[in-house]
């Protein structure tokens, strides 16, 4: 299967703590993207990191990419209860133009 793997599958933390999710993938990529999905809702794009980038920040989000290890991590700092959701990594191969999604991490942030 081309599908990527995410680790952990589920994560429970207290508000204010940091949350780290990891993603491993199998094929060469053009870019890697992280998405968030609230229960029963559509996916929302969070951040895109290109294959020639190693780190990217957006607000409380920090993404790293290691193409030699075919892995990425998403760090959410100072988490809030509103961050509770499922988080998916998705890789965009060189061709064709599509996204291959990971298995997702369910994050629960307790107030």
């Amino acid at each position: 299967s081309q599908q990527g793997e995410e680790d952990p599958q589920a994560l429970s933390i207290q508000e204010g703590e940091n949350a780290t999710m990891n993603c491993s993938y199998k094929t060469s990529i053009n870019n890697l993207q992280w998405y968030r999905q609230n229960s029963g809702r559509g996916l929302v794009h969070l951040i895109l990191i290109r294959s020639n980038e190693r780190e990217k920040h957006s607000g409380r989000l920090r993404v790293t990419l290691d193409t030699s290890k075919k892995s990425s991590s998403l760090l959410i700092t100072a988490s809030r209860a509103a961050d509770t959701a499922s988080y998916f990594c998705a890789t965009a191969p060189l061709d064709p133009d599509k996204l291959i999604f990971g298995t997702g991490t369910r994050l629960q942030v307790f107030p």
């Binding site: 998705a90 965009a92 133009d97």
Partner: protein
């Protein structure tokens, strides 16, 4: 204003029926996609259209037929529905190799 919209949001139908899901995007993107999310939350691409031309068909049964009347619309028609077709179907759009914008999803239940 809704960027990517899908109708209907919920669809409950009997096995053997034919149904359609509609998708529209007002972002001016040239590529549109259909994804299927199963009960385990795995997201998998089904089809991709670029400028009304089919680009990706990921070994989806030919009971599923996408139709793109113009760049802003990508509809999904499903013939002879089966129990295993029950899932949430997401439409998305993007400019090539950039972030994808997802619709709210259509929850299909086949009885």
């Amino acid at each position: 204003d809704t960027a990517v919209s899908q109708t209907p949001k919920y669809l409950v139908t009997q096995m053997g029926n034919d149904k359609s899901i509609k998708c529209e995007q007002n972002l001016g993107h040239d590529t549109m996609y259909w994804y299927k999310q199963d009960s385990k939350k795995f997201l998998k691409i089904m089809f991709s259209y670029n400028n009304k031309e089919l680009i990706i068909n990921e070994t989806v049964p030919n009971r599923f037929s996408p139709k793109s009347p113009d760049k802003a619309h990508l509809n999904l028609h499903i013939n002879s529905l089966e129990l295993g077709d029950s899932a949430v179907y997401f439409c998305a759009s993007s400019q090539r190799l950039n972030e994808q914008f997802f619709g709210p999803g259509t929850r299909l239940t086949v009885l």
